[in-house]
Amino acid sequence: MIEIRFHGRGGQGMVTASQVLATAAIMEGKYAQAFPEFGPERRGAPVKAYLRIDDKPIYKREPVVEPDVVVVGDQSLFVSENPLEGLKQNGILVVNGAYKAPVKTYYVDATSLALKVLGKAIVNTAMIGAVVKATGVVRLETALAALGKYFSGKIYELNAQLVKIAFDQTKEL
């Protein structure tokens, strides 16, 4: 089982990112479980989302406390909380922008890519590309197909383009 924890801010779409990846895994015939940590907070408030993917049915339903992968959509979250808490020994960080952390790190400039492609700083789709590149947890084509379950038309086209660009540009720090 691979366990991923997403950290972002309300409005950045990190919950959707976790759902798209779960959907992609399910489309590949795997089992997945994606759920957000909920609160009445709205735009801008820190949010977490959890994702588990396995070849076997998943029964446990607890927050992901020892993730294999931590995804951070906004570096400012390192100031207010500790996204790396509980990260497994050989776990990895996937982060928006080059952030120096004492763990194996992959990064992509999601904000500037999103601004360029979408015209707004919604980073979730770029982070999907980054996670796929960094972890290989699902195939890029499946991630794009799963994205199609959440967006359609022009918005889908732009976001799919963004996923692909982010996938290409994600690098190990």
Binding site: S18, Q19, A22, I26, A32, Q33, Y59, R61, P63
Partner: protein, 396 residues
């Protein structure tokens, strides 16, 4: 292509939350009237059904009622007119419906309702626990508690058959947020096949000008008791219906669940009895860990809460040295522990069985429940903790 192969081909697996799974089941069941009022965490059910209706995929009338009381009242009216109906709510909404819940069972109307369970005010909480569902205990509703989005989908479809056979309302509940908003794989049935599974049947208690009946009469002491006893008898008898419908569903669609679900109970010394996705899912993970530590641990899930599955449960408890019930609700001021614990204790006592137990209250207002907590419960049982109430995860 054989029929079975065609059916297999028609099956699709989607990534759905339990709430969306409900909406897909309602669509498959060809429901006529849906009356709903939005409340967290139920809202996405309503949104999805509204999409189906507005896209013409579900030929139903969606009544945007002005309260949950009216939601339940409208489906009572529609069911009384003979329609297949659906509603959904959570928490305060279920409390507001409470009066009409009794009327729905008293009139013997086959209403199906989904309840992503949520804590009750005050203080207000939007998060999950089972306080709302447990408060409906004595309303005469058949009550399921499902543990996965797949089971939610299958159970809503089964619920229509159960309701229309037993002539009782059915509630399908599951963890608010921990399931209602969790994306999981759900295999969908062929809708034509679902409709064959749920044929339209005539009922005696419908409002038809050709055969005018009076529903909701005023009963004096000479009559009231017998009519209410009928509900009790029907509810007790409905366990058999639940079992038969589940078996038939399994034969056709390949998935069934039983009345109680067990995990490693064959030789278990210590059992955790739980309900819902998070509590049972974590209990079964914990049983594996406990067994690695040399504790013969097992887990039991109540899939059906009302009618209480006494004999199914007692069969599983035979040979167990001690058990714990994990309740995600507080029975305020009770004689001993959480609401389900009280029923388990009564079931044991009524059958002259003396097995010691722990009442564990956990996950209140969605306080995080960890697998580790359930391992601790097994350890407590092994170390001889008995006959007390444990408020787990509480800063006491």
């Amino acid at each position: 292509m054989t029929a079975a192969a065609a059916l297999q081909k028609a099956k699709t697996t989607l990534a759905l939350t339990s709430n969306y799974a409900v909406a897909y089941a309602v669509k498959a069941a060809d429901v006529d009237v849906v009356a709903v009022y939005p409340i967290t965490p139920q809202t996405t059910i309503v949104e999805k059904i509204a999409e189906f209706v507005d896209d013409g995929e579900l030929n139903a009338d969606l009544i945007h009622v002005e309260s949950e009381h009216s939601a339940m009242s409208a489906v009572v009216g529609a069911a009384a007119a003979g329609a297949r109906v659906f509603t959904a709510t959570s928490s305060q909404g279920l409390e507001l419906m409470h009066e009409v819940l009794h009327i729905a069972s008293g009139l013997r109307l086959p209403i199906v309702m989904a309840v992503p369970a949520r804590a009750l005010s005050a203080p207000i909480s939007i998060h999950g626990d089972y306080s709302d569902v447990m408060n409906t205990r004595d309303t005469g509703w058949i009550t399921y508690i499902a543990s996965s989005a797949q089971e939610v989908y299958d159970t809503v479809i089964q619920a229509y058959k159960v309701a229309e056979t037993a002539l009782l309302p059915v509630m399908v509940s599951y963890d608010g947020f921990l399931m209602s908003h969790t994306t999981e794989p759900v295999e969908l049935n062929d809708e034509e096949e679902v409709r064959r599974f749920l044929p339209r049947k005539d009922r005696p208690n419908v409002l038809r000008p050709e055969k005018p009946i009076t529903m909701g009469a005023f009963a004096m002491p000479d009559w009231y008791y017998e009519i209410k006893y009928q509900v009790q008898e029907a509810l007790m008898g409905s366990l058999k219906v639940v079992e038969e419908v589940d078996a038939e569903y399994g034969k056709i669609f390949g998935r069934s669940y039983g009345i109680v679900q067990t995990y490693r109970m064959e030789d278990a010394d210590y059992a955790i009895i739980a309900y819902g996705g998070a509590a049972f899912g974590n209990a079964r993970e914990a049983a594996d860990i406990a067994r690695e530590k040399g504790i013969k641990a097992g887990a039991i899930r109540l899939r059906v809460w009302r009618p209480f599955p006494t004999s199914h449960l007692l069969k599983q408890l035979a040979g167990v040295k001690a058990f714990a019930v994990v309740d995600r609700a507080i029975a305020f001021g009770s004689s001993g522990g959480g609401p389900v614990f009280l029923d388990v204790a009564a079931a044991l006592w009524m059958n002259g069985i003396d097995i010691p137990g722990l009442s564990v209250i956990h996950g209140i207002g969605q306080r995080s429940m960890y697998v580790e907590d359930f391992v601790k419960i097994y350890e407590m049982l092994k170390s001889g903790e008995r006959n007390k109430v444990i408020y787990m995860g509480l800063r006491l």
